[in-house]
């Protein structure tokens, strides 16, 4: 596979260098691992669909798309609350 170049701010490069050194790998390895380990939006949607199917089959037969919507709303509210708490603690 052909190599390519990514331009980033020098502070980002320096941070990547520190992170890579502390993990005993190269920046190339670090960026590769990040790209491979981070799910895309499509992969996340597929993962959620697979988990919903699993829950329906094994745990809650009546699980529905309305439950996904309710769960999504719950997490959005929790994310807002915890973001607010982080800001408050940061002063």
């Amino acid at each position: 596979m052909a190599d390519t170049t990514i331009k980033v701010d020098s502070t980002v490069r320096d941070r990547l260098a520190v992170l890579a050194a502390q993990r005993g790998c190269t920046i190339r390895d670090l960026v590769t691992a990040l790209a491979e380990a981070t799910l895309t939006r499509e992969e996340l949607a597929a993962r959620q669909a697979a988990v919903a199917a699993y829950v329906t089959e094994h745990l809650r037969p009546e699980f529905s798309t309305a439950d996904i919507t309710a769960g999504e709303q719950f997490w959005q509210e929790l994310e807002a609350d915890q973001r607010h708490e982080r800001k408050r603690l940061a002063g």
């Binding site: 949607a45 988990v51 745990l59 769960g71």
Partner: protein, 135 residues
């Protein structure tokens, strides 16, 4: 840390295994975004699996459920909580919910037994009545 997180105690895990609506909503929606953490303390998992052995396979099949191992520091905290009279099944959830470097505001515990946590000043997400072990 960005994102949000909750701690599932042993009663929440049992409720999930028994088809709790709220527990299943939380778990499925957690899989749809990065940064949503459903922490499962190892002691809570052990306590739940002791009551419902098949639960271990279900938790293992849900990648967003992150098992927190019981390391040296947590083992010490859990030991002190047990010595002070707390239910051992809840102790690692109490420890995981307390403010930490990663979660300076602490984390809420999802539970069917809120009374276990009230003396410890932990934020709670109570499961619906009628959950296993619930009110």
């Amino acid at each position: 840390m960005n994102g949000a997180g909750v701690v599932f105690d042993h009663t929440a895990l049992l409720a999930l295994g028994s088809g709790s609506q709220l527990a299943s909503q939380l778990v499925v929606a957690a899989h749809g975004q990065v940064g949503r953490h459903v922490y499962t303390p190892a002691l809570c998992l052990a306590a739940a699996v002791a009551q419902r052995p098949a639960l271990a396979d279900h938790i293992g099949a849900l990648p967003a459920m992150e098992v927190i191992e019981l390391g040296f520091t947590a083992a010490g905290s859990v030991g002190h909580l047990i010595a002070d009279g707390a239910d051992w099944q809840a102790c690692q959830a109490i420890d995981a919910a307390r403010p930490s470097a990663e979660w300076p505001h602490g984390l809420p515990v999802v539970t069917a037994l809120p009374a276990l946590y009230r003396p410890h000043g932990i934020a709670l997400i109570p499961l619906e009545k009628g959950s296993p072990g619930g009110q």
